[in-house]
């Protein structure tokens, strides 16, 4: 395989010209998204360049403590993003979501890096950082969807929860449909994605590896492993987040504590 062709900065800048198409649509249909798109595209580019600089540094250093610290930082940023996007009262949810994220990463990384790839040095930045990042990144998106559904349902379908709680006198049965609903909302898109992968979509990791010079057969094996890892990581993350949250989101009478959801969300629900 040939070495990857590098893109110089001007060529990369030319790539931004593609944005003319969405901008033209936004302009034609009077959709005020231009500013949002431009700000976020620039933000994405700046963030990725900074990450590239940082990754170059930590790849060279390749120190277990530094790499672990980076992963912890990713988990913390993820936790803050979830609480903000789901409009949850941060002080209650930071610890359970952090534990859920950390647990999923510990299980996935131990299994993938330790048992499957059998790395001599499991904290090797080349494997540890990207695999953890992919699992956490995907878990973040799906967790937001699942947890949003969970807390919204508990608020909006209070009558159903109370009906089940009184008639069964069992809180585990009463929250079961809500957990199922949240799990489906979080995981269904991923299951659907798995069913069309390779046919309709070519996943980023595999494409990246092929572009980087790996034979497709090797790239596919990594992709299969990472797909399973992402699915399992997301599942562990969403279930742990819910299980740990359940310990404090209900009062002694089993009523859902609505004050844990921020005012902004309550107002939106009233509308």
């Amino acid at each position: 395989m040939n070495a990857i062709i590098d893109i110089n900065i001007w060529e990369l800048a030319m790539g931004f010209l593609l944005l003319i198409f969405p901008m033209a649509f936004f302009y034609y249909f009077r959709i005020r998204m231009e500013k949002d798109v431009l700000i976020n595209v620039v933000r994405m580019a700046v963030q990725l360049f900074l990450v590239a600089l940082y990754l170059e540094f930590i790849f060279t250093l390749n120190n277990a403590w530094v790499n672990s610290l980076w992963v912890l930082l990713m988990i913390i940023v993820g936790v803050f993003t979830i609480t903000r996007r789901v409009s949850l009262n941060r002080k209650y949810f930071i610890v359970p979501f952090f534990i859920a994220g950390l647990t999923s990463i510990l299980i996935i990384d131990t299994f993938c890096l330790g048992f499957i790839l059998k790395l001599d040095y499991v904290f090797d930045a080349r494997y540890f950082i990207p695999i953890t990042g992919m699992v956490l990144g995907n878990a973040l998106n799906h967790n937001i969807v699942g947890l949003n559904r969970y807390f919204t349902s508990l608020t909006e379908k209070r009558e159903l929860y109370q009906f089940l709680l009184t008639n069964t006198a069992n809180s585990k049965i009463a929250i079961r449909p809500f957990i199922e609903d949240a799990a489906r909302a979080a995981l269904n898109p991923m299951i659907a994605n798995m069913s069309v992968i390779g046919l309709v979509t070519l996943p980023g990791m595999m494409t990246g590896q092929i572009l980087g010079g790996s034979p497709p057969a090797v790239a596919i094996k990594y992709q299969v492993m990472i797909m399973v890892a992402i699915f399992v990581g997301c599942t562990i993350n969403i279930f742990f987040s819910i299980i740990l949250s359940n310990r404090f989101i209900f009062d002694a009478y089993g009523n859902f504590k609505q004050n844990l959801i921020q005012q902004k969300k309550k107002q939106l629900q009233k509308k």
Binding site: L160, T166, N167, A169, I173, P177, A252, G254
Partner: protein, 205 residues
């Protein structure tokens, strides 16, 4: 007064409750004996459903206490109290496709025989349990929900607007079924005159 005095009844003692500025109950005291059929009546917003919610611990009074079969309702007794209560809401959106799935969700498959008996008494077809909720009428769904809930061997039955989707014939059937439930306490919130008249006592709120 000693709570053991109310060992076979439901007692609301000096209940006061307000939401924001609105006073719902002000020193309300009600005693309901075991086996009584009570209908809570009155215009909307007077606290009929709230009273049912108070009994289940979903609304807590600002003042006063509720004693159910000798136990003061509080955070340590609520689990035991709920074990004695059946709650039949009106027009609830259920996360299941049919009655059978609801039976499974409530984990009361052992009650299937009783459910079928109630179905028969409420003039529901024998295969109603497996019929899609989307394909049966509101009245059929309400009667089926009542059948499923009543099949639980619990002493206190709370019914919120049990006749809201029923025609007069179905209301008569339901009154007959409820009349046969000897020894079980029924507390319902209803605007329906036919239903109210069939109760032992009407409490005007």
């Amino acid at each position: 007064m000693n709570s053991s005095y109310f060992s076979d009844m439901i007692h609301f003692e000096n209940i006061s409750l307000s939401f924001s500025e609105k006073i719902i109950f002000d020193n309300l005291t009600i005693t309901i004996n075991q086996g009584e059929k009570i209908c809570l009546s009155g215009p909307s917003g007077r606290g009929k459903s709230t009273l049912l919610n108070l009994l289940q611990g979903y609304v807590l009074p600002n003042k006063g206490k509720i004693i159910i079969n000798g136990k003061v309702l509080n955070d340590s007794t609520i689990r035991e109290i709920r074990k004695q209560i059946i709650s039949i809401p009106q027009n609830i959106n259920l996360p299941v496709k049919n009655g059978m799935e609801l039976v499974e969700l409530l984990e009361i498959s052992q009650n299937l025989h009783a459910i079928k008996e109630y179905n028969q008494k409420l003039d529901l077809e024998s295969d109603i349990l497996i019929k899609d909720f989307a394909k049966i009428s509101g009245g059929q769904k309400q009667r089926l929900l009542i059948s499923i809930c009543l099949s639980q061997p619990k002493d206190i039955i709370l019914m919120d607007e049990p006749t809201s989707s029923l025609d007069d014939k179905s209301i008569e059937l339901l009154i007959n079924v409820i009349g046969e439930l000897k020894g079980r306490t029924i507390i319902s919130a209803s605007h329906n005159q036919l239903w109210a008249k069939s109760s032992d006592k009407i409490i005007e709120l």
